[in-house]
Amino acid sequence: MPYKVLIVDDAMFMRAMIRDILVNSGRYEVVGEAANGEDAIQQYSALSPHLVTMDIVMPQMDGIEACKEIIKLDPKARVVMCSALGQEALVIESIAAGAKDFMVKPFSAEKVLKVIDAVMASS
């Protein structure tokens, strides 16, 4: 049974890329995609995915707020932040708030899977 993942990113381009990386590994199944924080929280409660990839800069509600809300909903939630270079302070804030790990854009399949596999393996 592949693990269920929710991808949160306002760029369809990024969502497609992450989805392909995850699905091609055979270990993950993308059960939902959200383009903003509010939608992410709703989909999280509806889908209870094993893991969420969370972009930081998004309209309506940003990824850090969404990460905090999701962890409030489910303290065991596995949220992996998707960050760009130069957002270290934001990544630190989200990890302190309970995000499990992070990955830095641009993504490579190897980098993404290394992080996500490690998160799934350790919790």
């Binding site: 760009a84 957002q87 854009k105």
Partner: protein, 628 residues
């Protein structure tokens, strides 16, 4: 990753962002907080997408634009010059997109891009993506002047030199360390790492069974290059990473339950197979079953623990008793190193505590009394633990005044426990055994320490509930000796499974069973008004404990009750099996002849009866009847 796969999305989504930027930055347009945020996100998205596609110029330019927009979003008032710069960047981005459209890559405009960037101050600046930049993740502990209490052991973690966000990466490691050591410290502090970009940190922790496991977990985190534990102990044992593990006892219990389930599933699977197939696969089925049984036994072995913790408790109790009774006491233990099943150990505490209290309170005389009989003033208590093969014997002795056989006999007759006639025929050992009957006491006054009565019945039933027996020896003036004998140091007991009907399975410890007598071959005869089983010229007592009538097809199970043999009539005898007897909780635990329950390899529940208690209950009933 094949970028061509994403080129279409890059265009459709990228051009949308470009159009947002163009419209939003138009010289006649007003800028609101919302629109600036949207522009910022568009530049940010463009940067990410371009980087993913490997379009370096586009990505760098978008990053520069993101910096300007980020400052606006952070509250900076856009100057006319900045707006001009932003518009120029947007135009350039359009050109870059056209390049990609015509040639498949964004090269050829490097000079223009560099010129724009240098007039904007380069790309090195970090965009102010948020109004309030994040301070410190955690309150930073003061820099330890001396090694902190957690600092006995340090975990040193180095991350990849390539790591782009080293402070964030080391925070992930820090969080992991904190899952085991909630108040560990990190050095240098996160703020310092963020500032300097160093790629390693040290975590101050303490010696912990999980330490090496934690090190392995850290090693498996992304971007972690090297993990090192430094401590005095670790320095000595640099060889293997992990040689022993400590794990919660409940884990082993869970494993036992799981194996029982596997055995049950296997039996079901086996029964579901067609007869012919079952025979063909016999070898595999049998070897699978035997492997599971072996695993089960190995886990039981692993549950063996030493007596240390129990002995410490008893030693404390002796010290306490000595000061409360005013009697100097010396407590010695022989065979400390022996090991016993942890369940058995837990159950042994109460009866042993009882014996220690009894010994100190009733057994050992006052110092003056001891002096007058020529004994050393210090009373001696000795606990001996012996394991011979499967059998475990625990002996508790004191050098006190011993038990007075005559007064026990007298008291038993007075209380109507036995008749005068019968009392005269009992051996010394049988008389001593009388004091283990409920509410029998040779001492009438109540003391604070032992409560009312000697309460040896409590000890006896505790020992018997574990499948053991209690024996005692005593000599007046010299002391008493209590023997707690258990058939196995592991609470794994071989039992004979039988039934009285189709519903329930019962079992009796195999150690109590002497022989099986099929009723088709042996006769039940009436002797002096009671039913007995005739075996050639002897007649065996029959225990009248059955839930449904036992017919000719039944079996008499011979029980060894020390001096005599008794039989228990059952309908069907099934198998013998080694099981872990788990005590019942209340209220079933109050039924004295019910030792506990167990799960058979078939997955069925079995009630374990104690033949000795069954027989004794019967004898006591008869004795009381005779005395009356």
């Amino acid at each position: 990753m094949d970028p061509n796969k994403y080129i279409e999305l890059y265009f459709s989504e990228g051009l949308e962002h470009l159009s947002t930027l163009t419209k939003g930055l138009a010289p006649d347009g007003g800028l609101t907080k919302e629109s600036v945020s949207e522009l910022f996100r568009s530049a940010h998205s463009l940067k990410g997408m371009a980087a993913a596609m490997g379009f370096d110029s586009t990505s760098r330019l978008a990053h520069g634009l993101e910096n300007i927009l980020g400052a606006w979003r952070g509250g900076a008032v856009p100057s006319g010059e900045e707006r001009e710069m932003a518009l120029r960047a947007t135009d350039l981005l359009h050109q870059l997109f056209e390049r990609v459209q015509s040639s498949g890559n964004d090269s050829g405009l490097e000079e223009e891009v560099s010129a724009w960037l240098s007039s904007n101050g380069g790309t090195e600046g970090i965009p102010a993506t948020r109004e309030t930049p994040f301070q410190a993740a955690e309150p930073e502990p003061p820099a330890p002047a001396s090694p902190s209490k957690q600092g006995a052991v340090r975990i040193k973690v180095s991350i990849d030199p390539e790591s782009q966000l080293p402070a964030a990466r080391l925070l992930v490691v820090f969080q992991k360390v904190k899952s085991v050591f909630p108040d560990c410290d990190i050095s240098p502090s996160l703020a310092e790492i963020q500032k300097s970009g160093v790629k390693s940190a040290e975590f101050g922790v303490s010696e912990h069974p999980e330490l090496k496991n934690l090190a392995r977990q850290i090693q498996s985190l992304p971007e972690v290059a090297h993990v090192e534990i430094t401590s005095e102990e670790a320095a000595e044992s640099k060889g293997s990473l992990v040689s022993t593990l400590r794990l919660p006892a409940s884990t082993l219990d869970d494993m036992l339950v799981r194996i029982s389930h596997m055995l049950y599933h296997m039996t079901n699977l086996e029964q579901a197979l067609p007869e012919a197939e079952r025979r063909r696969q016999k070898f595999w089925l049998e070897s699978h079953r035997s492997q599971l049984h072996q695993l089960y036994n190995e886990i039981l072995e692993a549950r063996l623990v030493s007596f240390d913790s129990l002995i410490e408790r008893l030693e404390r109790a002796v010290r306490d008793l000595s000061s409360r009774t005013g009697k100097p006491l010396r407590f010695r233990v022989e065979g400390k190193g022996e090991k016993v099943d942890k369940l058995l150990l837990e159950k042994l505490l109460d009866p042993l505590m009882h014996l220690v209290r009894n010994g100190a309170d009733h057994g050992i005389e006052s110092p003056a009394e001891r002096k007058s009989t020529g004994k050393p003033s210090e009373g001696a208590l000795l606990l001996t633990i012996k394991r011979e093969g499967e059998k475990l014997t625990i002996i508790f002795e004191d050098d006190g005044k011993g038990l007075d056989v005559d007064s026990i006999r007298e008291s038993a007759v007075k209380r109507g426990i036995i008749s005068q006639d019968r009392s005269e025929n009992l051996s010394k050992r049988q008389i001593l055994e009388l004091i283990t009957l409920p509410s029998f006491s040779t001492k009438t006054e109540v003391t604070q320490i032992s409560g009312r009565g000697v309460g040896l019945d409590v000890v006896r039933s505790a020992v018997e509930s574990l499948g053991g027996t209690l024996e005692l020896e005593s000599e007046k003036g010299k002391g008493s000796k209590f023997f707690l004998i258990f058939p196995s140091a592991v609470t794994l007991t071989e039992v004979l499974v039988f039934s009285w009907g189709p519903e329930f399975n019962f079992a009796i410890p195999a150690s109590q069973v002497t022989k099986l007598y099929p009723l088709s071959q042996y006769q039940i005869a009436w002797v002096e008004g009671t039913k007995k089983l005739r075996i050639d010229d002897t007649f065996l007592e029959i225990l009248d404990f059955r839930l449904s009538p036992v017919g000719k097809s039944g079996i008499a199970v011979g029980l060894d009750l020390g001096s005599r043999e008794t039989v228990l009539l059952v309908s069907e005898v099934k198998q013998t099996e080694k099981v872990v007897i788990l005590p019942w909780g209340p209220p079933l635990e109050r039924i004295p002849h019910l030792i506990g329950g167990a799960l058979l390899s078939t997955g069925e529940i079995v009630y374990i009866l104690d033949g000795v208690t069954l027989a004794r209950e019967e004898t006591e009933a008869i004795n009381v009847f005779q005395a009356k």
